[in-house]
């Protein structure tokens, strides 16, 4: 089963808190929940909405069709009516947002007491509870749902940003440097708030621009501290000289890159997978790096941990690549386990040089051709060691029918929609999710060679993963088999299922 609820309204009307309390109720009832956020670059007004999807089995995406439409303002109905199912329920009126929470609880058959408990955690709860009760009592409609009454436990309900922060803190993060930029900002917010919790040693620091952010990060890292810096595409562009310096000076650094549609300022609050090439090829000169792309919050935590591990061990920059969808959508997902202990490779401040230098001679600048050549070879050897060690990790994952001849390839935040599309659409295919973009597992090529039909799914216009696959394996994916979405929105599972079926024929 799947049920999708849209909460729409003006910024400031509180659709987020409404989505939260309904999600909590559903989880306590025993449903699996996923919700994504669609909001504009403004503070008050406009049209914002969240899509909450739930089911009695795990799900990680939204569908394009709406079961319940909650309209906090008049605009919402007009904008979403076309997506409403035939028997879809509409809630509208001039009421407070918690009135709608009460009403939705009634429709979904969730105990009002759960809602009241949730609301007690908030400020001014008495007023809110009053509204919620009124909504609950007024509402007469009911949705037919499986009768579950076993709260889901041992799973975390979190977005990618919180999971990244969690991964960083659990890898020994000392400092997070950033300049605010959507959609990387939630990590800055999370880590800043986490500072206030007990036993947290890390600090977050905001500096004048992203250049200062990465350079100060390198200065801090050079003293033997664990450092992460974060931004989105435009801010990351400014960081690239620092990334290159990290390559030459061999100072560890973890870079969090959360993408939104570009080029230029692009579309600030929407999603895109357009920065894969940027992550792979940015920074002048030739140097090693890791580019890791998690597909859900669990992987966000684990790959952040691995990013720290590799960055410290080999003194290379590690990039964690997400996008707005993964950064801000909330998933009900397993907790991460078996995080690696990150050992700091720098004990105390040494000498580091952005100029080519002699390793053995106090990092003194050199123009000696023998040393230049030797250093390139040494750095190249380091790359080979990284390639070798990373094969011990899950550089890719395979889902679905292992023996199917149809192969779907995806990466990052499209994972959720692909998984749901395959399950809900009963598609005969296996799904290859690539997590390590650089280094690229040598075990991927045979999987592609075995497949009869390959479909690739990406949230960008040029299919950057297909280019990477071509470069690394020599296998060219036919343009007809590329399912690309580049309107700033994530894939819906139902639409994607249809697309995949068409391409697989």
């Amino acid at each position: 089963m799947r049920c999708d609820i849209v909460f729409g309204g003006k910024a400031g009307q509180g659709p987020n808190i409404l989505t939260e309390v309904v999600s909590e109720g559903l989880i306590k009832k025993g449903f699996y929940v996923f919700y994504s956020r669609d909001y504009q670059s403004l503070i008050r007004g406009g049209h914002n909405f969240n899509i909450l999807s739930f089911s009695d089995s795990p799900l990680y995406s939204n569908s394009s069709k709406i079961d319940i439409l909650v309209c906090l303002d008049a605009n919402t109905l007009g904008m979403h009516k076309k997506d409403l199912k035939k028997k879809g329920i509409v809630l509208k009126g001039e009421d407070e947002n918690m009135f709608f929470a009460g009403a939705v609880y009634k429709i979904l058959g969730i105990d009002l007491k759960i809602l009241e408990d949730e609301l007690r955690k908030l400020k001014n709860y008495e007023e809110n509870i009053k509204h919620a009760r009124k909504g609950y009592e007024t509402e007469r409609r009911k949705l037919k749902l499986p009768d579950l009454n076993k709260p889901i436990q041992n799973l975390s309900f979190m977005n990618g940003s919180r999971a990244i922060s969690f991964g960083a803190v659990n890898s020994g993060l000392d400092y997070y440097y950033a300049y605010p930029m959507t959609p990387a900002t939630p990590v800055l917010t999370e880590l800043s708030q986490m500072q206030l919790e007990k036993n947290m040693k890390h600090k977050t620091i905001e500096l004048e621009n992203e250049i200062a952010v990465i350079i100060a990060g390198l200065g801090t890292s050079a003293t033997g501290k664990n450092v992460m810096v974060g931004s989105s595409g435009g801010g990351f562009d400014l960081m690239t000289e620092g990334l290159s310096m990290a390559g030459m000076a061999e100072i560890p650094i973890v870079v969090y890159l959360s993408s939104r549609p570009g080029p230029g300022t692009g579309v600030a609050t929407y999603t895109s997978q357009g920065e894969l090439n940027l992550a792979l090829y940015s920074g002048h000169g030739e140097f090693s790096r890791l580019v890791l792309a998690p597909g859900d919050p669990k992987e966000c935590t684990e790959l952040t941990n691995q990013a720290f591990y590799f960055s410290q061990k080999y003194r290379v920059p590690s990039l964690i690549l997400t996008d707005k969808h993964l950064a801000e959508a909330k998933y009900l997902i397993e907790k991460s386990q078996n995080l690696l202990a990150v050992e700091n490779s720098i004990i105390s401040m040494e000498r580091y040089n952005s100029y080519e230098h002699d390793e053995n001679e106090k990092a003194i600048a050199t123009e000696d051709k023998k040393i230049i050549k030797k250093n390139f070879e040494r750095r190249m050897k380091k790359q080979l060691e990284i390639n070798k060690e990373s094969e011990n990790f899950e550089m890719f994952k395979i889902y679905g029918k292992q023996n199917s001849k149809n192969l779907i390839i995806g990466w990052g935040s499209t994972k959720g929609a692909i998984l749901d599309a395959v399950t809900e659409g009963k598609i005969d295919a296996k799904f290859l999710q690539i997590l390590y973009m650089e280094p690229f597992s040598r075990k991927i090529k045979p999987i592609l060679e075995e497949a009869k039909k390959i479909v690739i799914v990406e949230n960008n216009s040029s299919s950057q993963l297909a280019s990477l696959i071509a470069q690394k394996t020599g296998i060219i994916i036919n343009d007809k088999n590329k399912i690309l979405r580049y309107d700033g929105r994530p894939f819906f599972s139902d639409e994607l299922a249809k697309e995949i079926k068409e391409r697989l024929g």
Binding site: D174, L207, A212, A216, G217, T223, G242, S348
Partner: protein, 308 residues
């Protein structure tokens, strides 16, 4: 003239004791003698020498020798007094000044062009106990890194920041910087510079730097201002007027200078500091050039506020 003679005598004496291996160049200018000599003349203990074995590639006679000697004298005196090499961290940008990274055997980072201060800040945030010294050129500080000097003045981290201001991009062969005077010509500006130079002292005062000073590229002056800067808790901005003997030889500057402290300047008075900053506009060929501390007023430092 008598001064020169005296200096020459002492130079001969010192060269014997410090055993300089590199042969002096055949055609050596008087300026060159003077610079190396003043560098060596200052009383440094033979026990501590933070100079690496790396031969210098600064031009013979470069005023960077004087600056380095001043820094060296200060750091070595601190080491003699009980500090360790590891208690210091040096950061350099890119340009002639940055070669000092190779000549001083101290921990640190030869960073990117313009990025000296963020590098210093990063080190200081993590290790407040380190004595962090940043070296920049005028291109580094006032062109590529302008945003950083303004903000670091505001942050007031306990960093000592030296700007080797020779009013020219020397290592890229003579292009004008933001502090080059109007009318200056090089191969890239055949019609001459048309824009008036910046006044960095005014910018630093306006940005909230808690210590703003200017000295001439002279060993003793550098050494003395270092002592003052290290006594100051907070961001210390020290501009060094440094003639580039190849591309911007303003040796005449030295004769125009006078010391603010000797002239009774009130260094805690912002208005007085601004007035003094106005006296030299980096453009005029005549008039007095004030040196010494323009402004000094302590306040909370960044790395301590971070831990509060």
């Amino acid at each position: 003239m008598t001064k020169h003679k005296k200096v020459k005598k002492e130079k001969k004496k010192k060269i014997k004791t410090t055993k300089i291996k590199t042969k002096p160049m055949k055609t050596i200018s008087r300026q060159h003698f003077q610079n190396i000599e003043i560098g060596l003349k200052c009383k440094r203990s033979p026990k501590v020498n933070i100079r690496t074995q790396t031969p210098s590639t600064w031009c013979p006679g470069c005023f960077n020798f004087q600056i380095m000697a001043g820094v060296q004298k200060y750091v070595e005196s601190q080491i003699i007094a009980g500090k360790k090499r590891e208690d210091f961290a040096i950061v350099t940008g890119i340009g002639c000044h940055a070669k000092i990274f190779d000549y001083l055997d101290l921990p640190g980072i030869n960073s990117l062009h313009g990025r000296v201060l963020p590098t210093c800040l990063g080190i200081k945030i993590a290790k407040p106990e380190l004595n962090v010294i940043g070296f920049s050129g005028d291109g580094d500080a006032y062109a590529e890194g302008m945003e950083h000097i303004v903000h670091n003045a505001r942050y007031n981290s306990n960093i000592k920041y030296l700007v080797h201001n020779n009013q020219v991009f020397a290592l890229t062969v003579a292009e004008p910087t933001p502090v080059t005077e109007k009318g200056y010509r090089d191969k890239t500006t055949p019609r001459g510079v048309k824009i008036f130079p910046l006044n960095p002292i005014k910018i630093m005062l306006a940005s909230g730097a808690s210590f703003v000073a200017r000295v001439f590229a002279d060993t003793e002056q550098v050494n003395k201002i270092f002592e003052e800067a290290f006594k100051h808790k907070g961001f210390a901005f020290i501009e060094i007027l440094q003639p580039c003997i190849i591309f911007h030889n303003d040796a005449g500057y030295k004769e125009r200078t006078y010391n603010l402290q000797e002239a009774g300047h009130d260094k805690i008075n912002m208005n007085a500091a601004m007035q003094k900053a106005e006296e030299f506009d980096y453009n005029s060929k005549t008039g007095k050039i004030p040196l010494g501390i323009f402004y000094q007023k302590e306040r909370d430092v960044f790395e301590e506020l971070l831990r509060k």
